[in-house]
C-alpha cells in the first residue's frame, strides 16, 4: 500500500461513520479501497453526535437498515476489534400525557402489523421501573430494549482502523474538489492530485450535495447543526436513554455519571469554516424540559455545549443506494440527525450492493431518484 496509490476498486468520499463502515466492509469483501477525508475521520457529525444507538421511533423506511445495523452493534467488538464504548440499556420514549400515550399505542400497533416487534408499549409501572427519576405525571411510553449508546468518535475511528488493517488506504486531510467521468472510470480530483476508480461512494455528509451536484444529481440537502449539552458527574439515577415525542428531548446518563442532553434543537452551521454557532435561547428551552421532567437535575452544572454539522433531507430520510443516473456511483448521505446507529449496517449493505449488485435488505424509498427534477415540468 504505497503513498503513491492512485486507483482502487472503490473510492469512498467522506470519513464519517458511513464512509468508514463502507470502506471496511468493502475491504472485508476483498475489494481495494481508497477513502478520502478532508479533515480527519469522525471530525464532523460522526464524532460529535449523541452516540444514541436507537431503533426506537424510526421511520419505517429505515427499519430494515436499522435492524441490520443493530445486529452488528451487538457484536461490534468482534467486527472492529474495539467495543466502541457500546452499552445496551434500552431506549425509552416517555409519554407525557394520555394523548401522547395514545399515539405511542397507535405506533406500536402499526409496527406489529408490519412485522416489526422491537418497540414495546409500557405502562406507568414499567416506566417507573425503567426510569425511576421520571416525573410522576407521565402515564407510560414505549421501550426498545436492545437499544443503547456508544462513543461516537471512538466508534468511527475503530471502523477506520479496522478498514486500514484490512488494506484500505485512508487519506485524511485530502479534499475532493470535483468528480468527473474519465472514460470507463471516475476521476476524483482532490487538493492532493487525482484518483481513479470504476466505483465511487458519496458519503460526504453535510457536503454531499456538492458531490451530487457535480454528478448532475442535485439534492435539496439542508445543512443543520443539532446541539448537545453535557453536565458534570451526577449520582447514577438512570440507565436507559430517554426521549420525548411532544417536546424535544433526548437524555442519557453515562456510566461515569455525566448526563448528555439533546433533542435536536438547532444552532447555526457555517460549513465552509467547519464552525457552528450555538443558540442559547433554544438550549434554555431544552434545559427547561429537563428541569420539568427530572427535578434531581436542577442543580447540575452544564460543562459544555456543542453542535455538529449534519445533512438533513426534506423527508428526514437518508439518500442511500445507487445513483439514478450513473453506473458505478453510490450515495450514502443525508442521515438527518439519526445516522450514527445506521453506520455499521449501512456500510455492510452498501458493500454488498457494490460487490454483488444487490442486497436482501430492503432500501425502498431511500433512493436519490425521489429528488430528481423531471426534465419537463
Amino acid at each position: 500500500m504505497s503513498e503513491a496509490r492512485r486507483s482502487a476498486d472503490v473510492i469512498v468520499i467522506g470519513g464519517g461513520i458511513h464512509g468508514c463502515s463502507t470502506a471496511m466492509h468493502c475491504a472485508m469483501r476483498g475489494l481495494s479501497v481508497i477513502l478520502i477525508e478532508k479533515d480527519h475521520a469522525g471530525r464532523h457529525a460522526s464524532g460529535v453526535n449523541a452516540g444514541g444507538v436507537r431503533q426506537l421511533a424510526r421511520h419505517v423506511a429505515e427499519i430494515p437498515l436499522s435492524n441490520t445495523s443493530m445486529a452488528l452493534w451487538h457484536r461490534i467488538e468482534d467486527l472492529v476489534d474495539d467495543d466502541c464504548g457500546f452499552t445496551s440499556d434500552g431506549q425509552v420514549l416517555v409519554a407525557e400525557d394520555e394523548e401522547d400515550l395514545g399515539n405511542c399505542r397507535a405506533r406500536v400497533d402499526d409496527l406489529t402489523l408490519r412485522g416489526f416487534h422491537h418497540e414495546e408499549l409500557i405502562d406507568a409501572a414499567e416506566l417507573r421501573r425503567l426510569v425511576p427519576a421520571v416525573s410522576d405525571a407521565c402515564p407510560g411510553g414505549v421501550v426498545s430494549r436492545r437499544d443503547g449508546a456508544a462513543i461516537p468518535l471512538r466508534a468511527t475511528q475503530a471502523f477506520k482502523r479496522k478498514a486500514q488493517s484490512l488494506g484500505a488506504d485512508i487519506r485524511e486531510g485530502v479534499r475532493v474538489t470535483r468528480v468527473a467521468r474519465d472514460g470507463a472510470n471516475w476521476r476524483v480530483e482532490t487538493d492532493h492530485g487525482a484518483f481513479h476508480s470504476s466505483r465511487i461512494v458519496n458519503a460526504a455528509g453535510a457536503w454531499a450535495d456538492r458531490i451530487a451536484a457535480d454528478l448532475a444529481e442535485p439534492v435539496p440537502l439542508e445543512v443543520i447543526a443539532p446541539m448537545l449539552m453535557i453536565t458534570a458527574r451526577m449520582p447514577a439515577f438512570i440507565k436507559p436513554v430517554v426521549i420525548l415525542r411532544k417536546r424535544k428531548l433526548s437524555f442519557k446518563q453515562f456510566e461515569n455519571g455525566t448526563v448528555l442532553i439533546g433533542g435536536g434543537y438547532l444552532g447555526r452551521a457555517i460549513r465552509d469554516e467547519n464552525r457552528t454557532v450555538l443558540d442559547w435561547g433554544k438550549l434554555a428551552t431544552n434545559a427547561k424540559t429537563v428541569w420539568d421532567l427530572f427535578p434531581i437535575m436542577r442543580g447540575a452544572p452544564i460543562l459544555r455545549a456543542w453542535a455538529g454539522i449534519e445533512a438533513r433531507m426534506p423527508d428526514d430520510l437518508p439518500v442511500f443506494g445507487r445513483s439514478a443516473r450513473h453506473e458505478g456511483v453510490y450515495h450514502q448521505f443525508g442521515f438527518s440527525a439519526h445516522g450514527f446507529q445506521l453506520g455499521p449496517g449501512a456500510g455492510a449493505v452498501m458493500a454488498e450492493i457494490i460487490a454483488t449488485g444487490s442486497s436482501n435488505v430492503p432500501i425502498d424509498g431511500l433512493g436519490i431518484a425521489r429528488f430528481a427534477v423531471s426534465a419537463q415540468p
Binding site: P152, G281, K282, W291, A300, L303, R304
Partner: protein
C-alpha cells in the same frame, strides 16, 4: 463607573463589552467610555485589578513593601475608570461569546447565580494569562499548589502558606513570588530553579535588546533581592512530590544526584501562557507561538482576532506583562471605536500613535526572557508514565503516550474520545498544553501540527437551573412548534 450588583441591572445592549478587569480590560473600558461609547466591563473576580493588581482596592495587605511598588500602580488604572459612565460588573462570569445574526455578538453572563444573554456591538477579550501546567509526579497531593494560587491567597486575603515551603520552577514571576512570600513571612526552605542552563545559549542573541529594556532594572533587582535572601538551588532537572495522603517532601535531581527536601507546602510555577478558552470557544483562530511555546490567539496590529468585531487585548493574546497589557487594551479600544464609526481611521491612527510607540518600548527585551525561561522538555511532557496529566479525569502521561502510539491518535480532540482528558470541569486548562506536547513527542511532529482542543461554551460551568431560567428566544419557540 456604574457598579452592577445584580444581573437585572445589566443592559440589553452595549456598544462594547470588555471581558476581564485586569490592566488590559481596565484600560480598554476607560478609553472606550471616554470616547462616549456605552461599555460593559465584566470580570468574575469580586474586585478589579486582574492578576497583577488583584484586589488592588480591597487587599488586607497594608505594608506596601510586601507586594512591591509595581503592585500599587494598579490603583491609577481603577481611578481612571471611576469618573466614566462604564458599567462595571464584578463577580460576573462571561461563559459564552458568539456572533449573532445582526452582525454583533451575544454574550452569556452569570452573576449571583443567575444567567443572562445580552448583546454587544464589539467585544474585547481581556481575559489574561494562566499559569502553564506543570505536571510532576505527586502534583495532585494536598500541599502542592501553583505559585500563582499562593499569590492569589496573599493578595486577596493576606494569607501565606504555613510550614516549610518550597518553591519550584522557572520564569520571572517565580522570583517575584518568592520575594513577596518571603516578605510576607513565609518560611521558604528552598527555591528550586529548573531553568535549563543551555537556554542561555539560545537567549544570548536577544540579550542586546534586553539591555535596553524596561525589564532589565526591574528583573535584576528582583533576582538580586530574592537570591540574596533565599536558599536557591539551580540546575534542577527532575522533581517529584512525595507523600501518601499529603505532601511530606520533594525529591530534587540536580547534576545527576537526587535528594529529598522535607516540606509542608510545594508551590509550582513554570511561567504563564495566554488563557485562550473564551477566545477559542468563540471560534477565534489561534497558532502555536514557538518563542513563548504556547497556543496564542492570532491577532493583527490592532489586536483584532480572526473574527471581525472580537479583539483580544493583554496577556490573553500573548504574554507581554502588565504594562503592555494596558497599552494593548487602549489600542484595541480605539480600533473598536473605529469599527463602530465613532472614530475615523485617521483619528484612530493619530490617537493610537503614542500608545503604539510606548508599546514597542514596553515589549523590548521580552524575547530574551521568553527564550531564557523556556521550560525544559521534561517539564512540558512528563517522562514518568504514572504522572497524572488530566486531573479532572485522572489520565496519566503513560496512557496518553500509549493511546497516541497504539491507536494512531493524531490530536487532542481525538484523544478525548478515548481517554476523556480535557472533558472535565476545567475544560483542558490544566492538561491541554501537556496533552499536545505528549502527542507531538510520541508522533515526532510539532505542537502546531498536533493542534489544540476545540473548546466549547460554557467556558465556565453554568447550572441547568440557571440556563432553564433564561428567557426563551423567538427562534426556540418556533423550533418547538415546528
Amino acid at each position: 463607573m456604574i457598579t452592577i450588583e445584580t444581573i437585572g441591572q445589566v443592559a440589553e445592549h452595549y456598544d462594547i463589552a470588555v471581558v476581564g478587569a485586569g490592566p488590559a480590560g481596565l484600560a480598554a473600558a476607560s478609553r472606550a467610555a471616554e470616547l462616549g461609547l456605552s461599555v460593559l466591563l465584566a470580570d468574575e473576580n469580586p474586585a478589579p485589578g486582574g492578576q497583577i493588581y488583584r484586589a488592588i482596592t480591597t487587599t488586607p495587605v497594608t505594608k506596601r513593601a510586601v507586594l512591591g511598588e509595581d503592585y500599587w500602580k494598579g490603583g491609577a488604572l481603577v481611578d481612571r475608570l471611576r469618573p466614566t459612565n462604564a458599567a462595571y460588573a464584578p463577580g460576573c462570569t462571561v461563559w459564552s461569546v458568539a456572533p449573532d445574526e445582526a452582525g454583533g455578538f451575544e454574550l452569556g453572563l452569570s452573576l449571583g447565580g443567575q444567567a443572562r444573554l445580552i448583546a454587544a456591538g464589539q467585544v474585547i477579550l481581556a481575559t489574561g494569562a494562566q499559569e502553564r501546567p506543570f505536571p510532576i509526579p505527586g502534583w495532585t497531593l494536598p500541599g502542592v499548589m501553583t505559585a500563582g494560587a499562593a499569590q492569589i491567597a496573599l493578595k486577596a486575603s493576606g494569607l501565606v502558606p504555613s510550614g516549610r515551603t518550597v518553591i519550584a520552577g522557572c520564569g520571572p514571576l517565580l522570583y517575584l513570588l518568592a520575594g513577596q512570600l518571603a516578605a510576607a513571612g513565609a518560611n521558604i526552605v528552598a527555591v528550586l530553579d529548573t531553568t535549563p542552563r543551555r537556554n542561555w545559549l539560545a537567549a544570548i542573541a536577544a540579550f542586546p535588546g534586553f539591555l535596553r529594556s524596561p525589564y532589565l532594572a526591574k528583573g535584576l533587582k528582583l533576582m538580586a533581592a530574592a537570591r540574596g535572601r533565599l536558599p536557591f538551588k539551580t540546575g534542577v532537572t527532575a522533581l517529584a512530590a512525595g507523600g501518601s495522603d499529603k505532601l511530606t517532601g520533594v525529591t530534587v535531581t540536580r547534576g545527576g544526584a537526587s535528594e529529598t527536601i522535607p516540606c509542608d507546602a510545594l508551590l509550582l510555577h513554570q511561567g504563564v501562557i495566554p488563557g485562550i478558552n473564551l477566545a477559542n470557544a468563540a471560534g477565534c483562530a489561534q497558532h502555536f507561538d514557538t518563542v513563548q511555546h504556547c497556543w496564542t490567539p492570532t491577532v493583527d496590529d490592532w489586536f483584532a482576532s480572526s473574527i471581525p468585531g472580537i479583539a483580544i487585548a493583554g496577556d490573553g493574546a500573548g504574554i507581554g506583562g502588565a504594562e503592555s497589557a494596558a497599552l494593548r487594551g487602549e489600542i484595541a479600544a480605539l480600533d473598536a471605536a473605529r469599527r463602530l464609526g465613532r472614530l475615523s481611521e485617521a483619528e484612530r491612527n493619530e490617537k493610537a500613535a503614542p500608545t503604539q510607540a510606548e508599546l514597542a518600548r514596553s515589549l523590548r527585551g521580552r524575547r530574551f526572557l521568553d527564550l531564557l525561561y523556556r521550560p525544559a522538555p521534561q517539564f512540558l511532557a512528563p517522562p514518568a508514565d504514572e504522572t497524572i496529566v488530566c486531573r479532572c479525569e485522572e489520565v496519566t502521561a503513560g496512557q496518553i503516550r500509549d493511546t497516541a502510539r497504539r491507536l494512531g491518535v493524531t490530536g487532542p480532540n481525538q484523544m478525548k474520545a478515548f481517554l476523556r482528558c480535557g472533558m472535565g470541569p476545567c475544560q483542558g486548562r490544566l492538561c491541554g498544553p501537556t496533552v499536545v506536547e505528549l502527542i507531538a513527542q510520541e508522533r515526532g511532529v510539532s505542537a502546531e501540527e498536533t493542534g489544540y482542543y476545540r473548546l466549547r461554551p460554557p467556558v465556565k460551568p453554568v447550572t441547568l437551573a440557571e440556563l432553564a431560567a433564561l428567557p426563551p428566544t423567538d427562534a426556540a419557540i418556533k423550533a418547538v412548534v415546528r
